[in-house]
Symmetry: C2
Subunit: 327 residues, 2 copies
């Protein structure tokens, strides 16, 4: 019997989850739920698109509901709400608000006897897991996280909001020299500017003041002013031809020492090179949806993060098969 | 209150565990137990060295017993035996016999109400974990494991058994071209010879037949005949000066695809660069000893592998602290 999944929302991430489910024979997508007019959605895999108001009829027809919404306003309200009726997985990624989100989801999930897994993806998610495990193994050392090369959706959006800008794509790029110093075990102290650069490709309206737009980008606080930023003005055709994808990736490094005299260095590195950020994130979510299903079957309830879930729950294989083939 | 650890055996690995415990403020080494005359042991951290026959007096004085013995003959007997009285952690690494070892330890551990964690280290151990998680996240793809550059103790020993050889050190070296092909996402099929080379440094007795020794090494079945092997004859002084350490490391890569048309490639890479193989392995064991302690406190019993343990158990931090600082 398949694990029956529902998805709330149908943006890039939800479509990534949809395609991941199609790769996992033990899972089945039941329906996509939307706050918009469902007739406006063309769901790639052909399952029904339904208005979110239909969800209550699906309480016994869905094992896990994946919440594809955003962290700013959707998930803080949705995850504690829907966990009252469903096992849920979200990708809540506002790091500073995770403790509060966890508490809210935990309370609701325990009261309802459901499982809510939050902050699933690659950062937070896989990167968090690697930071945590590596820090436990090498307690004396430093953690470094680099992102990219890849498209930052938030930074691209920030540029798009500038007057005169028609479209924009922002790439976050790790500074190779900084990465290499960490890989060598130098344990450098790195400023924001020393770790990443930002490269922007911008399509402007006819007659727009490019110099003013460039200045507004590179000086934008929080987003760009702490970085070395390059701006390229390109045509709409070039944007469509060269910047269509959503690649991303990055590295988590732990550089630590062991020995009675701290004489031995060790570098643990985890790296991701992703052609499609939303499809990879969706693949991680699919694996944790399996975990939510298995945990719920065992009678577990409450909020969980990637730290709280034994890795075997992510796999369709039995413990015996895993030991025989992967250990 | 500290987690009280005992160590059985005092070889390289046990000394690695000893130095790791010294780096973890929530742990305390109680004693080292040996089958040899304990007076012959000089324990670095100054704790008592005791004969193994004393162990039964320590049933209530030790929370976790780390078994530092070898996989060939020690651990298959010791782990199921000692788990009758202690929570134990071992580094059993004969991959083919893991299922059988697991069953034996599980039966004894459940009967005794103790926790036995087996096959802890980096391969099996961290590498297994990464293979398993990455395969669950990207179900369509290939796994690749490369070892080195590093000293293989087993291969060094095999050379030392050759007549006329006084000392030997064997380095396993991943073939860079093969690693790069995997990193590019080519998903190549690689033979044993294409993945690793072997480099040997050998000190011979005076008058030994070097040509015969070299031929015996490179043609040795199982160990060398399937590899391109280089042999260097060096002096005892050079061995002492240049080959004293036990560095190791390696890479686990998962190369997979996502998308309805499998159009997007993803590479997950986990790599280790270790100055000291036994100290890093000992550090992993220390973290899992903490997990054994916590699981046992919760009333859990039975055999566990790295697949069965939620990562949070490895850390001295609370769930709340982990979410605030690492997620």
């Amino acid at each position: 019997m398949s694990i029956r999944i529902g998805i709330l929302g149908y943006g890039n991430l939800s479509r990534g989850v949809e395609s991941a489910i199609a790769q996992n024979p033990d899972m089945e997508l039941v329906a996509v739920f939307t706050r918009r007019n469902p007739e406006s959605l063309k769901v790639k895999s052909g399952v029904p698109a339904l208005n979110v108001s239909e969800l209550e009829k699906y309480k016994d027809k869905i094992d896990v509901l994946v919440l594809g919404g955003g962290s700013a306003t959707d998930l803080p309200a949705q995850t504690p709400e829907y966990v009252k009726h469903f096992n849920v997985v979200d990708s809540f990624d506002t790091h500073a608000r995770i403790p509060e989100h966890f508490e809210n989801v935990d309370k609701a999930a325990k009261a309802a006897g459901k499982v809510g897994i939050i902050s699933v993806g690659w950062d937070p998610g896989m990167f968090s897991l690697l930071r945590m495990i590596s820090t436990s193994v090498l307690p004396e050392g430093e953690n470094y996280t680099f992102w990219g090369k890849g498209v930052s959706q938030g930074h691209s959006d920030a540029i798009r909001r500038i007057k005169g800008v028609k479209d924009a794509r922002q790439y976050t790029i790790p500074v190779e020299e900084a990465v290499n110093r960490v890989r060598k075990g130098e344990n450098p102290t790195l400023t924001t500017r020393e770790k990443h650069t930002r490269e922007c490709f911008v399509v402007v309206e006819e007659g727009a003041d490019k110099a003013a737009i460039e200045s507004e980008i590179v000086n934008m606080p929080n987003y760009f002013s702490d970085y070395d930023t390059t701006v390229h003005f390109i045509s709409a055709e070039e944007m469509e031809r060269d910047h269509k994808g959503l690649p991303h990736g990055g590295f988590v490094l732990r550089s630590g020492v062991t020995g009675f005299d701290k004489e031995n260095k060790h570098i643990i590195e985890y790296s991701l090179k992703l052609d499609s950020n939303p499809e990879f994130t969706g693949s991680v979510i699919a694996a944790y949806a399996r975990a939510a299903y298995k945990l719920s079957k065992e009678g577990v309830s409450g909020c969980k993060s990637v730290f709280d879930i034994a890795p075997a729950y992510l796999s369709p294989l039995s413990g015996e098969e895993l030991r025989r083939t992967m250990l």
